[in-house]
Amino acid sequence: MTLAFVGGTHRTVPLALRERLAFSAEQAADALGRFRERFPGREAVLLSTCNRVEFYAAGGQADGPPRPEQLVAFLAECRGLDASLLTPVLAGDRDEAVVRHLFSVAAGLDSMVLGEPQIVAQVKQAWSLAQESRTSGPLTGEMFQAALRTAKRVATETAIGRERLSIPSVAVADFASGVFERFDDKRVLLIGAGKMAAETLRYLRAAGARDVVILNRSASRADELAARLDVRAGRFEDLVAELAAADLVVSTTGATEPIVSPERFAEAELHRGGRPLVVLDLAVPRDFDPRIGARPGVWLYSVDDLAAACDANRRRRQRELPAALAIIDEEARRFMGDLHHRSTAPVIERLRAGWSETGEAELERLFRRLPALDAAARAEIRQAFDRYAAKLLHPPLASLRSESRAGPPHGLLDALKRLFDLKD
């Protein structure tokens, strides 16, 4: 065993316990420092986010990493918790399962929102902290590098993290941006100030919107909201004029009846000069009469329309899951194959050294018996010996590499040791 991990996520650890188990950056650095002293020569990386706490450890063939129960006890000690609280909620794994788990985590497949991209940066930070704390090493280093590479492949070769899932982001990026090329020359009109309006405004501002007006039935409330959202307040009585001037409307009032009827909209339409209008009606009940959506140049979206689009995006993400899992499987196999092959290096080295030693002895004997050979002839003979040895070694080494793909090639290594009398 060379790799181990214990950890828990939002699915397994209750929020109250997760809060107590979470590590800040300073606490994580302190924990890694303790680990270095407690388990010298072993490697460790601690990944702590709001949704997960995971501890990855690695060790050489001889001493191996700490056992999962040791890791649980260590985590409990670092956070001043009773280990018995953590044992039932933290999962542990070894070797290839650890690699597959880390690759899935880095690719966002184990996240609360499938494919969310922030986890890549968090994995990178965790690895950097381990490097700074001098607890990372060749094994964890390569495993985390491979995890980041896998995450990049999943992001590039699948669309798992691309589809938007929140109503404000879908409203702006998938619909408003389909109508307008830019937002910095557009008038945005906020009617009411539901929570969704503020969130949608955040996306609109990120897209470049600058000219924003807010209307509210209560003028004082409108002023207060305008100051809080850093927008201009208008008068609710000017709704028709503001509709005529707007390019994009976000409506979130608590009105029980539509505040914009087809007749009222027709008044505004007269002064719009044919400009297109996007209406994001995020209110329930709706603020805009749905018949307005049939007017030419009007793109009206209700909360249900946007929620349906979010659902469609969510289903698309799910459809990408098999492709993402196939990439993780491929990368995990490759990583484990390389890891197993690396474990054969000492035996191969001894085999090469033994053959080289025997070859040198035979060459010396030959050159003593043929003193007439000049330097060029000797070099030719030496090269021929080397080529011969390399060709003889090639089949067993190729077999070792091939066998490594399936797991540690213990059988072949033992056979080589016995056949060629290789001492440890």
Binding site: G178, E181, G274, R275, V298, A308
Partner: protein
């Protein structure tokens, strides 16, 4: 190098564009990290080969571009291929190639079916011929660009009306950007097509005087189709202009642009199939016919 350039054939760049088109189409089927680079490499290689081919003909075949129907079609295809590459480099995730490359390949196909023999020229007809060809070329490229923008507008508007989120592999430009293209291309197409038609009348008169080419009669298919196209384009540009301040103006402009492109395609096909005296050397001494265009 000279041997290499002289060996470039139409098939070389047509095949490159075809591979780029296959790459574009594969966007709809699967994702790939290297497809964009492969697509641009093939389109770029095709454009370079296309440029060298036209340059070689201009320098070695005594055929400056636009002096034969073959060269005219290839130059139109070259302009659109350059436009495709530019748009794709600027917006790698926009699948415009799915729409532009078939037009490029269609123009190359039309070139293959057209005469490669340069029209007989004198200094006077060369100038008027270049003016006539350039205006017609500009009109055709404007109609094709506008038609494609109009088609994309209708597809994008359909998606927005059905309230469906876009596919990541098929993100089209915004309606605002597409409407800007159709707003510009319709008047450009109308004015350049009209100028091309008028310069053609002048060229016909100059040819008749010089006795270089057969006089093209008013009833010739080329005159009829170009006259009809000019009339349509002018009417479409006026209609789009009048509807510009109406809410359904962009939709009208999109439909008019698509219809213009369909008419242009029909006109080209008609030109390829129908007999014409356009650009034909005289078989007998040129005489002024009563039915001849002035």
């Amino acid at each position: 190098m000279i041997e290499f350039v002289s060996g470039i054939s139409v098939v070389c760049f047509a095949a490159s564009y075809a591979v780029a088109l296959v790459c574009e189409a594969s966007r709809l089927l699967f994702r790939s990290g290297v497809r964009g680079a492969v697509m641009i490499a093939f389109a770029g290689a095709g454009l370079v080969a296309h440029t060298l081919f036209l340059g070689w003909r201009a320098a070695h075949e005594q055929a400056v571009p636009l002096s034969s129907a073959f060269d005219w079609y290839l130059l139109a295809a070259w302009l659109l291929a350059g436009g495709y590459l530019w748009i794709t480099l600027a917006n790698p995730r926009t699948p415009v190639g799915l729409f532009m490359l078939p037009v490029v390949l269609g123009l190359i196909g039309a070139a293959q079916l057209s005469s490669r023999i340069p029209f007989p020229q004198t200094p006077a007809t060369q100038v008027w011929g270049a003016i006539h060809g350039s205006f017609n070329l500009a009109a055709s490229v404007a109609v094709a660009s506008g038609g494609l923008a109009g088609l994309l507008w209708l597809i994008q508007a359909g998606r927005l009306a059905r309230k469906r989120p876009p596919l990541n592999s098929f993100r089209l430009p915004s309606l605002e950007r597409l409407a800007q293209v159709t707003d510009r291309t319709l008047p450009i197409a109308a004015s350049t097509a009209a100028a091309g038609f008028l310069s053609g009348i002048v060229l016909n008169a100059v040819n008749r005087q010089a006795g270089l080419l057969e006089t093209v009669p008013w009833t010739d298919p080329v005159v009829l189709r170009m006259g009809g196209l000019v009339a349509w384009l002018v009417a479409a540009a006026v209609a789009a202009r009048m509807g510009g301040r109406r809410a359904d103006g962009p939709r009208t402009a999109a439909w008019l642009s698509v219809a213009s492109f369909v008419l242009l395609t029909g006109s080209i096909l008609w030109g390829l199939a129908a007999p014409t005296r356009h650009g034909v050397p005289p078989t007998r001494p040129a005489d002024a016919s009563s039915e001849a265009a002035p």
